[in-house]
Symmetry: C2
Subunit: 263 residues, 2 copies
């Protein structure tokens, strides 16, 4: 089975660029979207409830901002939107889906840049990371099968972005943000793409919209599917679909042995 994550940068705009055709051609079982940037009622019916899919949305309270969504070929066994912190829940950043023995978290981690391109949102971002990490610590040590996928908004190591030197002070590659990802990996989470492909270079998931940056592949790898050790045993492939257009991010995926569903 195949699970995708994609920051669509506005689902309505992405639909105009062919999202539904991509969806039907994707052979996906589950797709997690970030930055939906629409209330469900603002979506066309064809994109809100496409034939053959079960869909779930967790929008932000603020219109046109953030928001996550899940598309699944079979109905989810459970869905939960709250992480029990009001300040996080109102921004529509997390969906926790249960599929048999597998738990999938679809997450839009906060961007660290604030109002005037400053770093004022980094504390919120780091608190969000820490809260989720602590919330999931028990599941990890209990050997549960968990995927945390989405736009992490942080490149972990120099190999994960084209211009590491010039971005050491930029939110998304600052030491305090990278150290938080260290803590996830130290806790036991596995970066599925790196586990499958090792230190391959120049594989990115996001490119600035300025200039011809994507054509020149001057990008960042900031979208991940993190697997618990128990889930990682079922991962048979991990991919970055950088040929797929429609957003400033590209989709990523993992292929899993279906046995992962049977506890």
């Amino acid at each position: 089975m195949k699970i995708y994550s994609w920051n669509v940068n506005g689902l309505r705009a992405c639909v105009r660029k062919g999202f539904l055709d991509w969806l039907d051609g994707s052979e996906a079982d589950v797709v997690g979207l970030q930055e939906v940037r629409a209330l469900p009622e603002q979506l066309t019916r064809a994109s809100r409830e496409p034939e053959g899919w079960h869909t779930y949305f967790h929008p932000a309270e603020r219109k046109g901002y953030s928001g996550v969504g899940l598309y699944s070929r079979r109905a989810l066994d459970g869905i939960e939107n709250s992480v029990n912190v009001e300040a996080f829940d109102v921004e529509g950043r997390v969906q926790i889906a249960q599929l048999g023995a597998l738990k999938v978290l679809n997450v839009y981690f906060p961007n660290g840049s604030g109002k005037n391109r400053d770093l004022s949102r980094i504390p919120y971002k780091l608190e969000f990371y820490a809260h989720l990490r602590e919330m999931l610590a028990g599941a990890l040590t209990d050997g549960e099968r968990v995927l945390v996928m989405g736009d992490f908004n942080t490149a972990h190591r120099a190999i994960d972005l084209a211009r590491p030197k010039s971005n050491e002070a930029t939110s998304g590659f600052r030491p305090e943000e990278r150290e938080e990802l260290d803590r996830w990996l130290d806790a036991g989470w596995v970066d599925s793409f790196r586990a499958v492909h090792g230190d391959v270079e120049e594989r990115y998931t996001w490119w600035s919209q300025r200039g011809d940056v994507r054509a020149r592949n001057v990008g960042w790898r900031i979208d991940y599917i993190y697997a618990s050790p128990a889930a990682m045993e079922f991962v048979v492939d991990a991919r970055i679909h950088d040929q797929v257009m429609g957003s400033d991010h590209c989709p990523i995926s993992v292929t899993l042995d279906r046995a992962i569903l049977e506890g």
Copy 2:
């Protein structure tokens, strides 16, 4: 000589739709624009200072809002932006141009609709009208040659809009607004288009942007060139150029005997 008035509904957008081609083909001597909606420095050089034209701008303080501009083939003999009321001056609504013995006021009269489509701006609109009328009363009685042209934002009589009955409560055709135009005409101002063409019907200068309203000519005549009696003696033609596209308003013009300039 030919003098035009046109509410361009954003000069930058209008330029993209061919404003400069229209300008050069217009045989205009003077063009007054309303709703420029740009600071001069936000305009391209080609539109701010086109070859062969002298240009003058009076923007609002608030960005992207209101603002008037004048294009003249020969340099103006004088230009004044203030009507000596701060609340009016900051909204960039008036330019007073002197061309020889002729005074031309290029005016963007306020829209009466407020924030929530309410009527909260009608008092401001009526005060603006009254202030300008009183300011010009002396010139009128002194026999000066004056044109007041622009977007008046009021249809005077039922003949001036396609749907008078259904708009009696709408700002733009309310009794208190129409009565203010009565006061201008009672004071001596002449509606140049009506003076030339009498009660011709279905001649409008503005159409809603919703639906196919312009194609069906469901419009309003709310742009006028008012002439003082002394100026009216030199008016040889008055036109509504409703075939000219580029805005939700169309240009209007008067043709004058050049002798109007020689006092």
